[in-house]
């Protein structure tokens, strides 16, 4: 039975750096294995769609522009993603990867969270098509030609 048994801690921390930090001013880098934003490599993709089948949050859509010539664009909804890395496990051609960048997911609008991955010319082609199809609503089915 004693009083104030934490006195040692209390005095020591007077001369120690605080354990907390002033967050937006100071930031710590994410660890190496961090499951952050998904990264897609269109060259390796075979278009098997296994990643989509097991995605628990419907965060990825594969837009097949040309199946024979392997022209795919991956629409990735970062705001829906639960970062479980199941798609990475599922992918047999290791074209999906979780990067350890960007872990702050706050924005005023939703648009920045919709990311298109693919070869540059494919993405450009798709964007053009979306713009042409409808001015405004960018909803196109996943299996659009």
């Amino acid at each position: 039975m004693k009083l104030g048994s934490m006195i040692g801690d209390v005095f020591r921390s007077l001369f120690r750096r605080p354990a907390t930090e002033l967050y937006p001013a100071e930031k710590r880098p994410a660890p190496e294995r961090f499951r952050g934003k998904l990264v897609y490599d269109p060259v390796k993709c075979s278009g098997c769609q296994l990643c989509i089948k097991d995605c628990p949050s419907e965060a990825i859509e594969l837009i097949v522009l040309d199946k024979v010539n392997k022209k795919f664009v991956l629409r990735y909804h970062q705001d829906r993603c639960t970062y479980c890395a199941q798609c990475v496990v599922n992918c047999r051609f290791s074209c999906l990867e979780m990067s350890n960048e960007l872990w702050e997911l706050a924005a005023v609008r939703k648009e920045p969270f919709e990311i298109y991955y693919g070869k540059d010319e494919d993405v450009a082609f798709l964007m053009e098509k979306i713009a042409k199809d409808n001015s405004g609503d960018a909803k196109i089915p996943a299996d659009a030609p």
Partner: protein, 301 residues
């Protein structure tokens, strides 16, 4: 009006609140708030809409925070703030100051009892219960130096303490302890924060207050903090003669208070009452007896 009047006291109260919060944070190994946080809180609260709950006496609801702050500011007039002579001083002003200090607590209790909210009612009960428990030992503790000085005038006690610093410090250690801890009880700081224990009764008596009313109560508490620190410093720590003296002594006391705040678990209200009457009152009485004895024999260091 400015120095050492109302605005100065309020500003100093805000600064002291920040120092207190910062110290506690550092003792808990946290960064703590930045220096303008209390001011920012105050501005935010003042700018906010004030919600009047149903079923309250409206005039009381608006009047109580004003009275509370006014009482606290009035008390400041009798205190040798920052080492300057008090604005008003007369024989027996210690009694007035002590009563005025209690007005804030009573106002909070009444404000809690005024609303229909159950947390407020419980908080009000606890606030008043706690007041009745610490008030007597706290008073007795402040009487010690007064008896030693043979005066009821704060100014004279301060001068006496300045002249005989060691007399008071050595012979009245118990008094100092009771007075310091009594200050914490008065300000409802941990571990005596049962009246506003947020995990039980939200904010206690203050639950229904928002915006201006709450801001005024908080300001009142800040002013009370600085007044109580000044009183204890001038009575027990060899008086306050200049601003530097004031700063050093009150900040020292504040540091001790911050350490005490972070060392204990919250006491239940029954434990608080028990502690004050069993230990606090006893120590204060012993202190007074020692003072009598020394005065009779005329011992000086």
């Amino acid at each position: 009006m400015f120095f050492p009047g109302g605005l100065f006291v309020i500003a100093a109260g805000l600064v002291y609140e920040w120092i207190d919060r910062k110290l506690v944070a550092r003792l808990q190994n946290r960064v703590g708030p930045r220096w303008f946080q209390p001011l920012a809180d105050l501005v935010k609260l003042l700018a906010k809409e004030e919600i009047t709950p149903e079923g309250v006496n409206r005039s009381l609801f608006y009047l109580l925070p004003v009275v509370a702050l006014a009482a606290a500011l009035c008390t400041a007039l009798y205190i040798p703030m920052a080492g300057f002579a008090p604005s008003y001083s007369f024989r027996g002003d210690l009694i007035v100051a002590l009563y005025m200090l209690s007005v804030l607590t009573i106002c909070m209790g009444v404000a809690g009892a005024n609303t229909l909210d159950r947390f407020s009612l419980l908080g009000a009960t606890r606030t008043l219960t706690q007041m009745f428990s610490y008030e007597a030992p706290f008073l007795l503790a402040l009487l010690g130096p007064a008896i030693a000085a043979g005066s009821w005038q704060i100014n004279e006690i301060n001068a006496y303490a300045h002249a005989h610093p060691w007399d008071i410090l050595v012979f009245q250690v118990f008094g100092l302890a009771v007075a310091l801890v009594g200050t914490m009880g008065k300000l409802e700081l941990p571990p005596f924060d049962a009246p506003e224990a947020e995990t039980e009764i939200v904010a206690g008596a203050m639950t229904e207050y928002s915006g201006r009313g709450y801001a005024l109560f908080r300001l009142g508490k800040n002013v009370e903090l600085i007044i109580a620190l000044t009183l204890v410093a001038s009575f027990y720590l060899g008086g306050i003669s200049n601003p530097l003296d004031f700063l050093l002594k009150t900040l020292g006391l504040l540091l001790i208070m911050a350490v005490l705040q972070s060392l204990f678990a919250r006491l239940r209200i029954d434990q608080t009452v028990g502690l004050w009457w069993r230990l606090g009152a006893l120590l204060a009485l012993v202190n007074i007896l020692v003072v009598f004895f020394i005065r009779m024999k005329g011992i000086h260091l």
